[in-house]
Amino acid sequence: MIPSYLKRISTSFFSLVTVFILTFFILELTPGNRQEFESVKHFETPFAQKPTLKSRTLGETFKHFVASVPVFFSSHREESLTYKQDVLHVFLEAFQCSLFYWIPALLLTLLFGTFFGGAIAVTENEFLRRNLKAVFLFLFNIPTFVLALVLLFLSSILFPFQGNSVERFGPTHFQSVTQFLLPIFTYLLFSVSSLALQVEAWMTEEAQREYSMGLRAKGFSKPYIYARHLFPNLFQLYLFSMPNIFRNFRILSVAIEVTFRITGFGYLSYLSFMNRDTPLLFFMVIAISAMDLILHLFFEGLTLILLNRKRPYQYA
């Protein structure tokens, strides 16, 4: 077990290094890189002749890469071109703002996802089960920016005093409860439907295992078996899906924060692209990839430890 986990860590490290190299080269070789950004700044007057914009060559990029690696890992990191601050500082500030929405969304996702998934799995009413599943599949597939726009439109009807758009706000200065709730509700619509579908699939699969069938044969009711024996095993599913829930939040945050104008992580990544802020964009890609891999490794390790300690099922 431990060798396989160590192998997994080495594979993850290899993936991270590949992401590091690939991202660096993609960002540096594309037009609109830092070199171009800096050259454009000197020719802002309308009458000046526009410079011939030229990206770095592969050899120049390689030299720059060799020079940049120690800088990236040192305490004197590069500054963001837009904000003129340390990239780590800018990133952490935005990430803190996003966490303010992600943590309540995560707790509510676990609560409602388990409830609805369990309800679909337990119910004997075939019509209700199929339709609930169809609704969750539908919600799971609607793009988030469409959901966000619908909610924004509905809020503009229900709360006309807010004007027709929710303007910029953050963790310290959001203007009303509705402005705080709308983004969280958008996160929830996607993540609850996703978790509910997983819980339902997991419970249905577990209900067909030997220990569940044995309990049914002994005469225990279906809700009793689900609540007493299957529900505690859902913990494994949560361990597996936790990194993916965070990953989903990260992906959704771009659409949600751009629509609701939240100065969080997603909006920052969007702005860093639009401003061609290469150091910030590069740092964010590496930070996200590292965070994803660490989360995966942590929860996989936890799963290995817990599954190893799990006692065999016993019939009641």
Partner: protein
């Protein structure tokens, strides 16, 4: 599902005949002229208190620059749908090929392919899109994107199905009879791999459709001077006081979901789709990896000579 996809394709191709400011057919004498039911062009401007409300002339009204909204939605749907259909077909072809090769090729090569799939799968997708879009625009960007990343989830599905097929008795019989890896792959495994491709098709298609709409919505990609659904949604966001400006593009954006996804009564289709969705979104990926490690030696056991 095929019928519904064909319906959308026919609708997309019929758009120039439904809405056009130029005559569709003129008789040789010039007396008889056939016009489209909606006689407005994509970039035809109208004057008045903009945006014009819905009326008999403009069924959904106009946008804030005076262009007919219905015409723009139809053309936006056509542009977005046809591009995403082309990219989907290319993506599925790559996924099928790579998934098959990752199983059919002998030991060192299939592991290299698997490692490549896992490494490319761990790239931050959205940032790769942004990076690619900063160099290329329009069709090229999406083709490069599909070549880079978009085929990976489907190729994992194809690989899983190929492994399942590989463990069947008739494959063992074929191997005992001396069939080569090439013959096994093309004759025996490939025909069975269209099931995951068929299940993934609506997901990949709608995924690209929404990706395009999303990139247009963010203002990262543009079809200018042609219409796109994402740009219409951005306009709608700025004009929340006019319901038609936001609801009509929203409905057009949701059209693939309404048409491509199974009806509520068909339980098996929903079950299949749920299975594909959960695998596609990699929620069970870790669990599968864990199980694969336990059964690895049993699954790849060599046949006795």
């Amino acid at each position: 599902m095929l019928k519904r996809t064909l319906l959308l394709v026919v609708l997309a191709f019929a758009v120039p005949y439904l809405a056009n400011d130029k005559p569709l057919l003129v008789s040789p004498s010039g007396n008889v002229v056939f016009r489209a039911p909606i006689p407005y062009g994509e970039n035809q401007f109208f004057e008045g208190a903009l945006p014009l409300p819905p009326s008999a002339n403009h069924w959904l009204g106009t946008d804030d620059r005076g262009r007919d909204l219905l015409v723009r939605i139809l053309y936006g749907f056509k542009n977005t749908f046809l591009l995403s259909l082309g990219v989907t077909l290319a993506t599925l072809a790559i996924a099928l090929l790579v998934g098959l090769l990752s199983v059919s090729l002998p030991a060192p090569f299939n592991k290299v392919i698997l490692l490549t799939m896992e490494t490319l799968g761990s790239l931050p997708y959205f940032f790769i899109i942004l990076a690619v879009l900063s160099k290329f625009n329009g069709i090229e960007s999406l083709v490069i994107l599909s070549l880079l990343c978009a085929w990976i989830p489907t190729s994992f599905l194809v690989r899983g199905e190929a492994l399942r097929v590989l463990s069947q008795n008739y494959i063992l019989s074929a191997r005992v009879l001396g069939a080569s890896w090439m013959r096994l792959g093309i004759v025996h495994i490939l025909p069975n791999l269209f099931s995951p491709i068929r299940s993934s098709f609506p997901l990949v298609l709608s995924g690209f459709f929404y990706l395009l709409a999303y990139l247009h919505y963010l203002g990262i990609l543009s079809f200018e001077p042609h219409s796109s659904l994402g740009e219409l949604l951005t306009e709608g966001r700025g004009n929340l006081q006019s319901p038609a400006l936001i609801f009509a593009p929203l409905f057009a954006t949701l059209l693939p979901i309404f048409l491509l996804f199974p009806k509520k009564g068909s339980g098996d289709e929903i079950k299949n789709l749920q299975r594909v969705l959960l695998k596609n979104s990699s929620h069970f990926e870790n669990l599968e990896k864990f199980c694969r490690q336990k059964n690895r030696f049993a699954r790849f056991k060599k046949l006795p000579e």
